[in-house]
Amino acid sequence: MAKHHVSTTINGDPAEFLCDTQQTLLDCLRDELQMTGSKEGCASGDCGACSVMLNGRLVCACLVLGVEADGATIDTIEGVAQGDELHPLQKHFLDEAALQCGVCTPGFIVAAKALLEENPDPTETEVRYWLAGNLCRCTGYDKIIRAVMNAAAEMRGA
């Protein structure tokens, strides 16, 4: 059998790649499409560093097969900023120093963006539970939670 030919839409643009069945969407993004913004921390859905949107739902790209992306819509960290205009979440992560090593940051931003699209005015508890699948070992989460709350406020125009 030849590799699968996958046609998909990534960050609004058409994209195609070839993959084997066992390659995950994360493998395909990183190795076939050179989109390395999504990170692999565990390959078991436990750390959230590979968070992407698949057909509008937040998922771990390590738990999706690349071939499942055929005909799907995918949004990744690479599509969060518009050109050189950062998303409010990205700005607040910088202003709040919500990253130390930064390897979990892309996953947090993708996941937090999904939250704010669903719930523009989350409580601290809601933010913490929504982001419970995104592990950060550096910050103790404090500044991340603040950055998300501040970005939410800014986006609401508060």
């Binding site: 493998d27 990183r30 921390g41 078991s44 750390c47 130390q100 090593c101 070992r137 103790g140």
Partner: protein, 762 residues
């Protein structure tokens, strides 16, 4: 400032009002990291690159009888296989002499096993192929014949009379007479102050208890990763994430038997280390495979490999005995620590002995440490190595002592707090330190005064870390337009580029935004010691300050030339050269001077190669409030305050971040993190699902208080801050839980299962 002192001399910053230091600027590498563009260890690719996977031992302790790689080599796409036999043998006594004793023999054997495997996950072979999948399948085709030996999984088992001995060449160090037989007891260390017997003789109240902790992992989110390639003329290039590109270079050269000049290491962004990336694992394998295959080789660990075979830090037991007078004066402290080093000697037990009693002025101290090898992965450094376990025991004992004395635990600490001039347990007298100040801040914190509800408890604990200096280099290069590049040799693990740029900006007097900090490869800056020991902002920062001053002097020389005046007439003020004693010359900005660099002698730069001394010790005090579910043993952390003497916070947000992150790692250590092994020595929790680091919903906000008692050993008063914050939380949490349930919790982690059995009195 007089002219003469200003020439080629260190500028005195004491009492100076800072313009940029202490501001909360956006880190220079921030945009790259929030957009996913920053390149971490696994993000690098080379043309023609192939992929390698390892074969690891499923046994905790076994002899390797035979390795058959034939089937693997026959699989299409397989390019190379290496085993221990492909590496040069290293003398058993070959040790690095430097800041830490490093046994190259052990390191080489830990990288890839030779005749024996010592833990579940020990590498026995590695295979490179044209795809990761083929490499993985090929690894499964490598047949290893083992003679399985009985493992020793705990210090207790390792020290039993007829325990299997791991290493035939291991004779206990530090005991007299020298043993004539090898054993699993690697070393004994001891620190004494005063007369311990006499000390306890003065005591009215004595508390004594044994505390235990389990093996825990640093838990960085980024697995180890590297790419190695070899040029046609034998030059080795390694691209990897680590806590020190020069460390990787030295170790690769040694383990692979290559001259240092032939190895170039380019640092990737590092996705967390906490000490766990101060050693190497994959790089020599990738280099050997690249050499055999003639292609660049990429290796990335899985999380399972990270947990089974890297890190961790020692589990251990700590017996602590404290004696105090009725008025609360602690007169004697006795401590016996036993730490599991893992497969090779070198647990941080000695550092535990040196740090445990350090927050207190105790005249009579005896601290003995035992370093024991067991069939677990070799312990690597983890944030204040050795200190958290000792502090857990001592700070719990202080809490118990306060109960026995009927004293407030904070007041008891204040009464005995180490101050400038106090003799530390390792004998040295402290310079200016801010421990007492952290206790005062704790006393004044809103949390300390807040009421508690039913099933709730509050714990307080303190901690100490030495902080270190060491060799650091920096170059400050002034560009043609007056912007500046600051190159150093230390990976930026938590925002250090921002502090380097801030310190350079302060000295040069130009805006922070005009400075680009660079983490340079091993061929672009002189040697620097690794990022660790809370040393970068202190030591490399000191180098940056000196290099910036050197650049300022160069700029002044150029201005003097432009104006045709003596150097002494040129002062550097707010980023400009100013001609004193004459107002006919308009001040020259750095851009003005840079524009004329070609005419005044070529490129303008400054450099500093230093071995920084004068690292100021760090003390912290943490307060933790918990609520315990008495029916399930589940602990909820309700509130937490971390207070620390940070000397001078260069970038307060990132300093707070260190306190918060360290506190939370410590909370994880206290509550739910532990290695769980089967009886035959296989690690059972090899993923983040069952190795339970704290998640966002487990925690409250972590309040911080930065106490600033300047360190005289740094021009801006900086103390290292990264490690101290993980020292107090184990006891802060355990003391809080103990108060909530009314029973002393002496064994970590306080997982629901363990805690419920304590509550139910079993």
């Amino acid at each position: 400032m007089g002219n003469e002192e200003n020439v080629g001399k260190i500028i005195d910053y004491s009492g100076r009002q800072f313009k940029q230091i202490g501001t909360r600027v956006v880190r220079p590498d921030g945009v790259e990291k929030v957009t996913g563009k920053a390149n971490f260890g696994a993000d690098f690719k080379a043309n023609g690159m192939i992929y390698a996977r390892t074969v690891r031992s499923p046994h905790a302790h076994a002899k390797i009888k035979k390795i058959n790689v034939d089937k693997a080599l026959k699989l299409k796409g397989v390019k190379a296989v290496v085993t221990g036999a492909d590496f040069p043998e290293i003398d058993v006594n070959d040790k690095a002499v430097g800041e830490v004793v490093v046994s190259y023999y052990d390191m080489a054997h830990n990288t890839i096993a030779r005749d024996k495997v010592y833990y579940d996950g020990h590498v026995v072979a590695a295979v490179a192929a044209t795809s990761a999948d083929i490499a993985e399948q090929a690894a499964r085709l490598i047949e290893v014949e083992y003679e399985v030996l009985k493992p020793v999984m705990t210090a207790e088992a390792a020290l039993k009379k007829n325990a299997p001995v791991l290493h035939k060449h291991l004779f206990t160090q530090g005991v007299e007479p020298k043993p004539d037989k090898p054993s699993n007891l690697a070393a004994r260390s001891q620190f004494k102050l005063g007369d311990i017997e006499a000390g306890f003789g003065q005591a009215d109240v004595v508390v004594e208890r044994t505390y235990t902790t389990q093996t825990v992992h640093q838990g960085y989110i980024e697995p180890h990763a590297c790419v190695a390639s070899i040029t046609a003329d034998g030059m080795v290039n390694v691209w990897c994430s680590s806590q020190g590109q020069f460390m990787v270079r030295a170790y690769v050269a040694k383990i692979c038997g290559i001259e240092i000049s032939k190895v170039k290491v380019t640092p990737a962004e590092i996705g967390g280390g906490f000490g766990g990336k101060t050693v190497i694992y994959l790089e020599p394998l990738a280099v050997a495979l690249a050499k055999k295959a003639g292609r660049p080789v990429k290796m990335v660990m899985t999380r399972d490999e990270v947990l089974r075979a890297t890190g961790p830090t020692s589990g251990g037991s700590a017996r602590v005995k404290l004696g105090a007078k009725r008025d609360g004066t602690i007169v004697a402290g006795d401590m016996e620590l036993t730490y599991e080093a893992g497969a090779y000697p070198g647990s941080p037990v000695m550092l535990g002995c040196m740090t445990g009693f350090a927050p207190y002025d105790i005249k009579n101290i005896n601290a003995v440490g035992w370093d024991v090898v067991v069939n677990r992965p070799k312990a690597a450094a983890y944030r204040a190595p050795g200190a958290p376990v000792a502090a857990f025991a001592v700070e719990s004992a202080v809490d118990e002592l306060a109960e026995q004395l009927g004293m407030d635990p904070l007041e008891l600490r204040l009464k005995n707090a180490a101050v400038e001039g106090t003799q530390a347990p390792y004998g040295v007298k402290f310079g200016p330190i801010g421990y007492k100040e952290t206790l005062e801040a704790a006393k004044n914190s809103p949390q300390w005064k807040a009421p508690l509800g039913p099933n709730q408890g509050r714990g307080i604990a303190s901690g100490f870390w030495f902080n270190i200096g060491g060799t650091s280099s920096a170059e400050v290069m002034v560009n043609e337009d007056g912007t500046v590049i600051v190159a150093t040799g230390n990976p930026d693990i938590g925002g250090s580029r921002a502090s380097m740029a801030l310190m350079a900006a302060e000295v040069l007097g130009i805006p922070y935004e005009r400075i680009k900090p660079l983490v340079a490869d091993t061929e672009s800056v002189p040697y620097s010691m690794l990022t660790g020991g809370s040393r970068v902002t202190f030591a490399t920062g000191k180098a940056v300050i000196e290099a910036a001053q050197d650049a300022v002097n160069d700029l002044r020389r150029r201005a003097a030339k432009i104006w045709d005046v003596d150097l002494e007439q040129v002062e550097w003020q707010d980023g400009q050269a100013v001609c004193i004693e004459s107002d006919k010359h308009k001040p020259l900005t750095i851009a003005n001077i840079a524009a004329k660099a070609d005419k005044t002698g070529g490129a303008i730069s400054g450099k500093a190669n230093i071995n920084a001394t004068g690292a100021g010790p760090g003390f912290g005090t943490h307060i933790c409030d918990v609520e315990v579910d008495p029916e399930t043993g589940h602990v909820t952390v309700l509130r937490y305050t971390a207070i620390q003497d940070v000397g001078k916070a260069i970038h307060p947000s990132y300093v707070e971040g260190q306190l918060q992150g360290g506190a939370v790692q410590g909370i994880g250590w206290a509550l739910n993190e532990e290695y769980v092994y089967s009886d035959d020595g296989r690690l059972l929790n090899t993923g983040f699902l069952d190795y339970r680091i704290p998640v966002a919903s487990d925690l409250p906000m972590i309040d911080t208080v930065l106490v600033e008692v300047p360190n005289p050993g740094h021009p801006f008063g900086v103390r290292g801050v990264g490690e101290t914050p993980i020292v107090p939380p184990l006891a802060a949490v355990a003391n809080a839980v103990s108060h909530a349930i009314g029973k002393r919790c002496a064994d970590l982690p306080l997982s629901p299962v363990r805690l419920l059995s304590i509550i139910d009195g079993k």
